[in-house]
């Protein structure tokens, strides 16, 4: 399959897309653009025929694993089945071809959908204020922290510290930093939950927000949750819930009910918007009523006549993105929620729990699972013993499993577990697939030597040299003459 770069396939004079001759009278380009602005020639893009382009990109696609082709138990990423109906319906011209600057009068259908989605997310989260604007989970975190900052500023409180769990996604501290906060990490205890003593020690009147992931990145629901949220609220701080793991608790428990004040959703995870090779996602946030006035603009309102309107909240932080938000992703989330309905969504989480606990019940006989007999929608195993006894690292395991036709789990995250192997099967994989995956893991533990250390063997490439890539970065193709 394709290995040549587009640029290497280029031949001067080849063409794919062409426009027909202009059917209007118009001065030449030279008369419309002054010399000082006009380029002598267009950018040196590759020159290709349409057949080249299609074969190239179709060929490249076959070098990817994907949910459509493989089991993809990448922990924390919720790689569930992406419904084809959602792709079809999000592509209706009355959705796909709507311009963001159209007037409200011409977008009532879409605004109705977005309004309903706001309400759905409020119901699922138990938090009434909703902004659909953020473009990704991390963007939602940042937005929520900007909201919190504005709230404290308005309240005249000078709180500059954000607490994060040491098991948190790296985006938590990074988002806090971008929102102008200093961060402190709260330790996990031996059970993988929040260390209450450490929390108490770090919580004070400087604390603005405690960012919490629950269930956390170990796949554990923190049973101390009410105690935690009460403690934080008593200190005058807010609880932010990282919603990356919402797939575990839909209809089972609601962040707003267990004490969260702000949260984001990852619709591309929880509500099966496809991940698109790394994006686009979306990161809508939900907040308590007293925080709603600070949400970014616009949100969708419905007036007395039943007309949908865009509105800027009274004390809005402004905007975090141009236009409304990642509407294409949001439409898919809406369709997903409608497809299941309220009871169905709970069943999603139940099946996610069932699948994860079933796989856990098999994997724990193969490798260590440090934190407990039960998990929510994912669990974290450790290759520490395997590494000591057989020289089999988490990396080896991840690489070798590719040869068995499975995508690898997440490895080396969360940082609180050595040689972490984080497995999230999701609810859309069959028992047969989970059995086959466990069987493959088991077989790998009986393998040894180069078979595992040099794995994968069946893929086009194997163990790329990351170090050289970073030390002497080659970040673009250049014609020979330029690189010489």
């Amino acid at each position: 399959q394709a290995t040549n770069l587009l640029f290497e396939l280029s031949r001067p004079g080849r063409r794919a897309h062409r426009l027909d001759d202009l059917d209007i009278d118009s001065p030449d380009v030279e008369h419309l653009i002054p010399d000082e602005h006009r380029a002598d020639q267009p950018p040196p893009l590759p020159e290709l025929a349409e057949g080249d382009v299609v074969r190239h990109f179709v060929g490249l696609s076959t070098l990817n694993m994907s949910v459509d082709t493989h089991f993809y138990p990448l922990g924390s990423c919720t790689m569930k089945y992406n419904p084809k109906r959602n792709e079809r319906l999000a592509s209706l011209p009355g959705i796909l071809d709507v311009h963001p600057m159209q007037s409200e009068g011409t977008t009532q259908g879409l605004l109705a959908l977005l309004y309903d989605l706001q309400n759905m997310l409020a119901e699922i989260s138990g938090l009434p204020g909703v902004s659909l604007q953020p473009a990704a989970g991390a963007h939602g975190e940042l937005t929520a922290l900007l909201v919190a900052a504005a709230y404290f500023r308005d309240s005249g409180e000078d709180r500059k510290i954000v607490l994060t769990a040491d098991s948190a996604h790296g985006t938590n501290p990074a988002s806090a930093q971008m929102a102008g906060f200093k961060t402190k990490a709260v330790k996990s205890n031996a059970d993988g939950l929040v260390d209450m003593d450490d929390l108490r020690a770090k919580l004070d009147d400087q604390t603005a927000v405690f960012m919490l992931t629950n269930p956390n990145t170990l796949g554990l629901f923190d049973s101390q949750i009410k105690e935690i949220t009460d403690l934080v609220h008593q200190a005058g701080a807010l609880i932010y819930l990282d919603g990356a793991n919402m797939n575990a608790i839909l209809g089972i428990t609601r962040p707003g009910d267990f004490g969260a004040d702000l949260m984001h959703f990852n619709p591309h995870k929880t509500f099966s918007g496809p991940h698109g090779g790394g994006g686009p996602g979306a990161g809508p946030i939900c907040v308590r009523d007293f925080l709603a006035p600070y949400l970014p603009s616009p949100i969708v309102d419905k007036d007395d006549q039943g007309t949908y309107r865009l509105r800027r909240p009274d004390s809005s932080i402004g905007r975090v993105r141009s236009f409304f938000g990642n509407v294409g992703v949001l439409v898919r989330a809406y369709l997903y929620i409608r497809t299941y309905g309220g009871e169905g969504l709970r069943r999603v989480s139940e099946d996610a729990l069932l699948g994860a606990n079933y796989l856990l019940s098999k994997v724990k006989h193969i490798m260590d699972v440090p934190h407990g007999e039960r998990c929510m929608h994912e669990f974290v195993a450790s290759a520490t013993k395997l590494k000591k006894q057989h020289g089999l690292s988490a990396m080896d395991l991840a690489k070798r499993i590719l040869d068995y036709g499975f995508h690898a789990p997440t490895v080396y995250f969360p940082l609180v577990v050595d040689e972490a192997v984080m497995i999230e099967p999701t609810e859309t994989e069959s028992k047969e697939t989970l059995d086959a995956f466990a069987e493959a893991l088991f077989r790998i533990t009986e393998e040894a030597g180069d078979l595992v250390h040099q794995a994968p063997h069946t893929t086009r490439i194997s163990r790329p040299d990351d170090v050289t890539a970073a030390r002497r970065p080659v970040l673009r193709w250049q014609p020979k003459s330029e690189t010489d």
Binding site: H70, G276, R321, F323, G328, G341, A470
Partner: protein
């Protein structure tokens, strides 16, 4: 139910292996009773595919769109033509159902696309390095400023202009508010020249953010601004229109240090504003401040050329609060579309597209101003967008009238700047036919007036 797999028999076997009586028991063992929801979510019943499709078709039919109407709306989102091959490729499951290429061995497709995308972006910007994409043009502009602030130490002033997209400036303001930077926004002079921006630049200035062609369609004197910024030790961040590079000099050629853009125009659908594609490129020496994912070339253990995510030490999952940015996704699917789009166009196709936009915009200007009611506000060159003044000062009525005639005629500028209440912005892409433009002019000139035409 919908996409679920487990049959009753599966469930029983799985629970037996787990050693649990029921899923409820598994829940009870972990989630305290007092936080469990004691009712069903109030989200209605499950809807089958046929039901959902009927409803969505009805709902979609309630919206006007660039399919049902001739669209002259711009402001950073444009109705350019998307060749069918773009959709065909991007709809392959291997692309859209995969994730961030954490395992390079089974992600060479996405990684090579990212590397090709980055190269194409360096080609259209004339800069040495591109990341693998950001959220959209607006947040990219802000990330460009943040990057400049981090690169130019000990300066906190950021200068921008009212001729930069107002929504982009809103984002910039929201981001800068908490981190102690000062934002200075220079008004647009009547003559549209760059003297106001240039004179605002001082030794405290970390960077200047401009847009060229600017929000009102005009061409800025980028080189002069770049020179002024550089002479004071500041960086220039330029927001540009990727399609315009088919004719206009590129940001890097004009002296920009960091180029950002909305990449929607490169083969991505309008979809009411998103998901879109944030483009960002910079000079080679700024690379370690560049936010977002970056794919780079390397070799594998067998010596084969291949691609990996690289320079990850900048990133949040390693650096956490010391990361250059909190961004951990990129818009791979939209970057793929842009990559395919630019591959199909090539240099000549891009020039042709830019040239059609330019010349059709010029034609539209002349047709619209054939009516006494309308002025073109600015002299001087534009690319594909220009400001029209309604001398009857009834922009809203005018645009509603045009909508009813099947035309999305322009964007009312009063919503951004009350002093432009009588103005609207018209964008013309290569998709607009002569007939579309003639109809636009006719519908505008035939529109009922709220008041008589003001005397000239």
């Amino acid at each position: 139910m919908a996409y679920l797999f487990h049959t009753d028999a599966d469930r029983a076997q799985m629970l037996a292996s787990i050693g649990a009586d029921s899923v409820q028991q598994i829940i009870d063992q972990q989630v305290p009773q007092d936080v469990q929801l004691q009712r069903s979510l109030n989200l209605g019943d499950a809807a089958g595919e046929l039901t959902l499709e009927s409803e969505m078709r009805r709902l979609a039919a309630q919206n006007s769109s660039a399919s049902s109407h001739a669209c002259f709306l711009g402001c950073g989102a444009y109705d350019h033509f998307i060749p069918a091959a773009v959709d065909e490729i991007a709809s392959r499951g291997e692309y859209y159902t995969s994730y961030t290429p954490y395992q390079a061995e089974v992600s060479q497709g996405n990684l090579q696309v990212m590397f090709e995308y980055e190269t194409l972006i360096t080609q259209i910007t004339g800069l040495a390095v591109s990341n693998a994409s950001l959220y959209d043009g607006g947040s990219a502009a802000t990330e460009g400023v943040l990057m400049a602030l981090a690169s130019v130490r000990n300066r906190e002033k950021v200068i921008t202009s009212e001729a930069v997209h107002p929504e982009y400036r809103d984002i910039l303001e929201a981001y800068l508010k908490n981190i102690g930077a000062t934002l200075v926004t220079v008004p647009v002079g009547d003559n549209g020249d760059s003297s106001a921006i240039i004179s605002a630049i001082d030794e405290q200035t970390a960077c200047v953010l401009i847009q060229h062609p600017n929000f009102l369609g005009r061409l800025e004197d980028v080189t002069a601004i770049a020179d002024a910024a550089h002479s004071k030790g500041a960086l220039l961040v330029q927001s540009f229109d990727p399609i315009s590079t088919g004719l206009l000099k590129r940001p890097g050629d004009l002296g920009a240090d960091i180029a950002v853009a909305e990449g929607q125009c490169l083969g991505n659908p309008l979809q009411y504003g998103g998901p879109y594609l944030g483009i960002m490129a910079c000079r080679e020496d700024l690379v370690r401040r560049l936010p977002g994912r970056i794919a780079g070339q390397t070799t594998d253990r067998r010596g084969n050329r291949c691609w990996v995510l690289t320079l990850q030490t900048r990133e949040q999952h390693i650096r956490r609060e010391k990361a250059t940015s909190n961004i951990c996704s990129n818009q791979t699917l939209l970057a793929l579309r842009a990559t395919v789009y630019l591959s199909l166009l090539g240099p000549e196709g891009l020039r042709e597209t830019a040239s059609h936009c330019l010349r059709k915009a010029d034609y539209a200007k002349r047709r619209i101003t054939a009516s006494d009611r309308f002025d073109i506000v600015h002299d001087g060159p534009v690319f594909k967008e220009f400001v029209v003044r309604d001398r009857s000062d009834d922009v809203d009525g005018l645009l509603r009238h045009a909508e009813s005639q099947g035309i999305l005629a322009g964007v009312a500028l009063g919503q951004f700047d009350p002093s432009m209440n009588d103005c609207f912005l018209v964008a013309v892409t290569e998709k607009r036919s002569r007939d579309d433009i003639d109809r636009l002019a006719a519908v505008l000139s035939d529109a009922p007036c709220r008041s008589a035409v003001a005397s000239a």
